[in-house]
Symmetry: C2
Subunit: 380 residues, 2 copies
Amino acid sequence: MKAGIIGIGHSKFGRRDDVTVQELAFEPFVEALNDAGIRRQDIDATIIGASPVYMTQRSIAGPITEYLGLNPQPVWLTEAACGSSAAALRTAYALITAGMHEIVLVLGVQKMLENPTSEILKIMGRSGDVQFEAPFGTTFANYYAMYANSHMAKYGTTSEQLASVAVKNHHYGSMNPLAMFQKEITIERVLESQIIASPLHLFDCCANADGSAAIILANEEKSKQLSDTPIWLSGLGAATAPFSLLTRPELTTLSSAVEASQIAYAQAKVNPSDIDVAEVHDCFTIAEIMAYEDLGFTDRGKGGEFVEEAYLGGKIPINVDGGLKAKGHPIGATGCSQVYGIVKQLRGEAGKNQVDGAEIGLAHNIGGHGQYCLIHILSR
Amino acid sequence: MKAGIIGIGHSKFGRRDDVTVQELAFEPFVEALNDAGIRRQDIDATIIGASPVYMTQRSIAGPITEYLGLNPQPVWLTEAACGSSAAALRTAYALITAGMHEIVLVLGVQKMLENPTSEILKIMGRSGDVQFEAPFGTTFANYYAMYANSHMAKYGTTSEQLASVAVKNHHYGSMNPLAMFQKEITIERVLESQIIASPLHLFDCCANADGSAAIILANEEKSKQLSDTPIWLSGLGAATAPFSLLTRPELTTLSSAVEASQIAYAQAKVNPSDIDVAEVHDCFTIAEIMAYEDLGFTDRGKGGEFVEEAYLGGKIPINVDGGLKAKGHPIGATGCSQVYGIVKQLRGEAGKNQVDGAEIGLAHNIGGHGQYCLIHILSR
C-alpha cells in the first residue's frame, strides 16, 4: 500500500499578528484543498502537528477542526517538539497504509510570537532537561553551541564555515516570498553579529516565528484518481537519541538522524547519493553541517566543506527554499514546510529555486536538540 | 491485519508526590513488559498519551523514552485532551496494521497535582473556548452542568439518578486497590455535598489525579506467538463534535460519541447489546448517563434509569473498576486505564469485579467536553 501527497499549502512565515491560530491554520488548508481539487468533506481525518505549550488555547486540534469545518471527522495532535508535524505526517501515512482512512490532512501550525521573547526562550529551554541540565543554564542555543564547539575541536570546522550555511540559506530565502527573511547576508555580517552562545552568532540561529503548512495525503487509488502528479512517500524513518546530553557519547552527531535516515533509505531502496534535493533541520548553522554528515551526504568531519555542494548545481542542493534559517521556525509548522518544499521541487514547481529534474527528495526534521528525528523520502 | 494487546500495566492513581513523571511512567511500563513476557528491547516504537500543558518539563516523550531505556526507537506524543491516550492507542493500531512496527508501547501518563488547584482549573478550562466562552466563566464543571440541566429539563432526569452513578462507581472503586477513592458513598452523601456547578455536587465530579497506564500492542503473528490470551482490537471509532457549545444543536448528547461508536460497532460487526462490559468516560455523573444513550445501551432519555442495569449482573456492567469517578482522572492516563480494565475483564482476571464470561468489551474515551471521542471495542 502506498500513500501519495495530492495537495500542499504554506502560509507566510514571520510575525503574524494579523491572524488567530485558527485563521493561520486556514491559510495553507484552503490552499492545499484547492491544490488537491477536493472539498473539505473529502478529508477523512486530520492530524495537527504543534507544540501545545506556546498557546493560551489548550488542545488546539478541536478549535482548528471546528474552524475548518471538519467535524465530525476525527482529529488529534502529535507533538515531538520541533518534529511535531513530521510525526503528524508519519501518523497520517500509518492511518492510510493501514486502510483506516483514504484521505488525511496533516496540518502543522504554530504561533510563537504572541509570547514575549523571554517566555519563548523559557518554554524552548524546557524541552531540554529541566531537572539536571536547565539549572546550568541550557537554553536551546547553548545546546547547539556545545555541538559547534565539539565539531570545531574534533574536525577543525570554522566559524566561517558555519556562517556560510547562513549565507546560502538567506540567499535562497531572498527568492522565497513566504520566508520570514528575504535579504542576502554576508559572512562578515554573520561574524560581526552579536554572540548568542559562543561560537554561535545571532545569524547562526534561526528565528522564532508564526506559520503554518498543510499536506494532504491519500491512498494509492485516490492519489492516482485525484492527482496527475502525486508525490509518493517512499521511505520513512524515525528514531530517538538520549534526551540528556550527559548520556550521549558524542556531541558532533545526532544519532537519531543517523538511525532514522538508514531506516528511510532502506525502505526507499536508495542511497544518500540518489537524493536530488533535501530539506534539513537548520535550526542553527551547525545543525545543517551535522545533518550533511548524519545523512551520509558527506564524510564525518567534512560537513563544513560541503556547504558549497549544497547550492543549486552542487552535489545535493539543500534548503534551497531558505531553510529554517531564512524561512523562520514556527515549531509545529516546520516539518510540513520542509515537505512542502520537497513536493514543489519534485513537481517542478519551485521556480527560480528549481533543481533540474529532481526525482527523489528528503526531509530531515529534528525534535528538540536531537532527541527525536523523523525522515521522509519522497519520490515522483 | 489484526492487532492484539499482549501486555498491560496500571499505576496507583491519586496523589503521587512520591514519584517524578518519568518514574510514574516506569511503573505500568515494567508491569506491562513482564505481563507480555518481553524485554524493553522488543518494543519497536512508543506513543505517549498526555496533555503537555500540566508539566514543567516540555516534550515529555523524550525524557520518558530515555528513562525507560527505549532509545533509539521512535516515540512521539498524542494529545486530544482527556482522550489523549486513546488517540495514542489508535495511532499504535495504525502503525501495527500498516506493517510499520511489530510491537508498540502505548503509555498514558499525567501528573496534575503538582499544580495548585486554581492552576489546574484554569488549565482545564482552557480546553474550552478561550475566545468566546471562557469570558463567561466556563470551567469544566460548568460545561457538564449545562449538559445536566438540559438532560433534566428534556427528559426529567433527577439529581438522585445522577448521584446513583457516583454511588455505583464508588462501590466498585472500593474493590479496586489502584483507585484514588476506595470508600462507598450514598445518594444522601452526594446530595449533601457542596454544589460545584448547579446541579452538579462535589461527588458528581471526578477528581484531578496523578497516574499512568500502559498497553503493549502487537501484530497478529507476534500476539499469537507471545500471548496465550491476546485481546484483539476488533473495532475502532473516532469522531469529533463542534468545539464551541454555541454551535451544538443539542446539549443532551455528545454527537462525537454517537458517530465514533457507530463506526466501531460496524468494524467489530457487533451491536450495543453484544457488549458484555464497558468503560465509559464518567468525568461527571451526567457524562455516564449521556454515554449510556450515545452508545445505544439504552433509549434516549432513559439513561437515568439505566444505572441499575450497569451493575454486575445487570444488562451491561459499566465502570466496574470504579470509573473516572472513583479511580481519579489523570487526563493522559485515562484512555489506557479504561482499556486496562477491559483487558482484565476479557482475560477473566478482574477478581471480585469480574463479569462472568465477558467476551466483548468497549472503552469510550471523551476528550474535552465532547469535541473528541475515541471508541475501542476489544474481543477475546
